[in-house]
């Protein structure tokens, strides 16, 4: 079995905004085959960490190196403005933009390969019939699947998702997670996601990164989510205790 390759290598990195450090001295590697959930209380720095790893904010100290691996990014759909009359097809084809760097000029219409790839990605998320529909007219779960299809366009090695099930009902969330799970199992895509719903993290992730008080702690999903601190952080009514596998080793990816 080949040694895991670091897709993102974060060494002694600090992240923050406006000169204020929110997370300091982080050492973190995301490797091929990883499925990691990022959890933590509100305002603790989950999004800051995620944005730092994505390259959206520069580290104040230390380094964040990406191996040149292709990254598929799924933003929070609430951040996308519905005033744009974009169709599902147009949204998904946006993801092809990155695959033509140094190649096809930007003024050319999407190639047949791009169109075929977009259709393939839409079929994967079961939205091929909606390719001409307006993105703004889709349900929350459909929009999230559309953004997932866009993230798949550059054939990513790593999928980074920012709260992929936020504001989506349980049935739609389960559909989204089933797709992410298949992507990992069938195509070996590494997954890094910020999540609020711990039961989904438990179902999907092999490891968890807990962000708290300016630092992070990483460990196997079962151990981390059983931690009394996490239980306290997410409250006694948390879905951590409610359902799903409860021990490390029960994750569908652990042999």
């Amino acid at each position: 079995m080949p040694l895991p390759t670091a897709l993102i290598d974060c060494q002694a990195a600090s992240f923050g905004y406006g000169g204020k450090r929110i997370l300091a001295d982080l050492d973190l590697q995301v490797s091929a085959g990883d499925v990691i959930g990022i959890v933590g209380g509100n305002g603790m720095g989950k999004t800051t960490l995620f944005r730092g790893l994505l390259g959206l904010i520069k580290p104040m100290d230390g380094t964040v190196e990406r191996s040149g691996a292709s990254i598929g990014y799924v933003p929070q759909r609430e951040e996308l403005d519905s005033v744009y009359p974009l169709t599902v097809r147009e949204i998904v084809l946006m993801g092809a933009s990155g695959s033509v760097r140094g190649g096809r000029a930007c003024w050319r219409a999407p190639s047949k390969q791009d169109e075929a790839r977009a259709l393939e990605c839409l079929q994967f998320v079961d939205l091929a019939n909606e390719h001409g529909a307006l993105f703004a007219s889709l349900s929350g779960g459909q929009r999230q699947r559309c953004l997932l299809a866009r993230a798949l366009m550059p054939n990513p090695d790593l999928l980074m998702l920012d709260e992929p099930t936020a504001g989506v009902d349980r049935a739609a969330s389960a559909e989204i997670l089933e797709r992410i799970s298949r992507l990992h199992k069938e195509r070996g895509i590494a997954v890094l996601m910020v999540a609020h719903q711990l039961d989904f993290v438990r179902e999907l992730a092999k490891e968890v990164i807990v962000v708290n008080e300016g630092g992070i702690e990483r460990g196997p999903v079962g151990t981390m989510l059983s931690d009394p601190f996490i239980q306290q952080l997410f409250g006694s009514g948390s879905r951590v205790e409610s359902s799903g596998p409860s021990r490390e080793g029960d994750s569908p990816w652990t042999n």
């Binding site: 994505l54 390259g55 959206l56 946006m94 003024w107």
Partner: protein, 292 residues
């Protein structure tokens, strides 16, 4: 006017007709980006800033003539040749890009709408004061800024045509990336797009269109074409590409209605084109209701 045949009208007002149609095609495309970026009110404020720049240029004309020169004097500034036009264009551009830069730097801080409104009010006041201080008289400056497009000359038409054709080319070439950067900046960064360069191109396109438009077709027609056709097209559009195409078509439609109304009823052309745009906005509403 109503004795004029179409051929005679084109003979006399060929530049005005062509300028109106080109502006009708290109300005709404720029306005489309202003609308989706939720900066539609820039379409009203920026032409006013450009007008202030032109009035400022007139106010400092004696100083410029003495200390800078470059062939600019009162005669060339009022003759409508390239020297005078470039001088006005320079000041319109300085004020447009300057105010655009200030507004963009302040985005996300405080109330943007109030800031733009305050800027508009100040610019309107300054335009009158600068025109009053002008050596050519405030009536001349206000006439110029009102933009009687029928009086457009060869040099003005050439300048407008060159700038708007370049803007159209840039939009055709880069519209996909401009939409991506405007819609989802973070994803554009992750995809490796030169986001800052595309955003600067968009501001350059906006500024150049407005600065040139104020100097040639006038602020009234510019306001109308930047705002009304995209507003009508937004209701009809079923895709982003369709939105852009529809804005351009409705812009040319507004220009056509305005030209016909102007020649038929002897109306000033700029306001007639704006009225044409308003009619299209009203006509689109029942179409949308019928489509559900």
């Amino acid at each position: 006017m109503d004795e004029l045949t179409l051929v005679q009208a084109f003979e006399f007002f060929g530049f005005a007709i062509c300028a109106t149609l080109i502006a009708g095609l290109v300005c709404p495309l720029v306005g489309t980006f202003l609308l989706v970026r939720r900066t539609g009110f820039y379409g009203v404020a920026l032409p006013q800033f450009a007008a202030t720049g032109v009035a400022f240029g007139f106010a400092i004309l004696p100083w410029w003539q003495t200390h800078v020169g470059l062939g600019v004097d009162v005669e060339s500034a009022t003759a409508g040749d390239h020297v005078g036009l470039n001088y006005h264009l320079f000041w319109a551009s300085v004020f447009t890009f300057g105010s655009l830069g200030v507004l963009l730097l302040g985005r996300g801080k405080g109330t943007e709408t109030a800031r733009v409104a305050a800027g508009f009010a100040i610019a309107s006041g300054l335009t009158i004061l600068f025109a009053h201080a002008s050596p050519v008289g405030d009536i001349y400056v206000h006439e110029l800024l009102r933009g009687e497009i029928l009086a457009i000359g060869l040099h003005e038409f050439e300048t407008l045509a060159v700038v708007l054709v370049l803007v159209l080319g840039a939009l055709v070439i880069a519209h996909r990336d401009l939409v991506l950067v405007s819609y989802d900046r973070e994803s554009a960064i992750v995809l490796g797009k030169p986001v800052v360069a595309w955003e600067m191109l968009l501001q350059l396109i906006t500024g150049a269109t407005i600065a040139t438009g104020v100097m040639t077709v006038g602020p009234v027609l510019l306001f109308g074409l930047l705002v009304l056709p995209p507003l009508a097209a937004r209701s009809l559009a079923r895709s982003m590409t369709g939105f852009l195409v529809c804005s351009g078509i409705l812009g040319v439609g507004s220009a056509g209605i305005g030209l016909c109304a102007s020649f038929a009823y002897d109306l000033p052309l700029g306001p007639a084109v704006v009225l044409g745009g308003a009619i299209l906005v009203l006509l689109v509403k029942p179409v949308c209701w019928l489509r559900g």
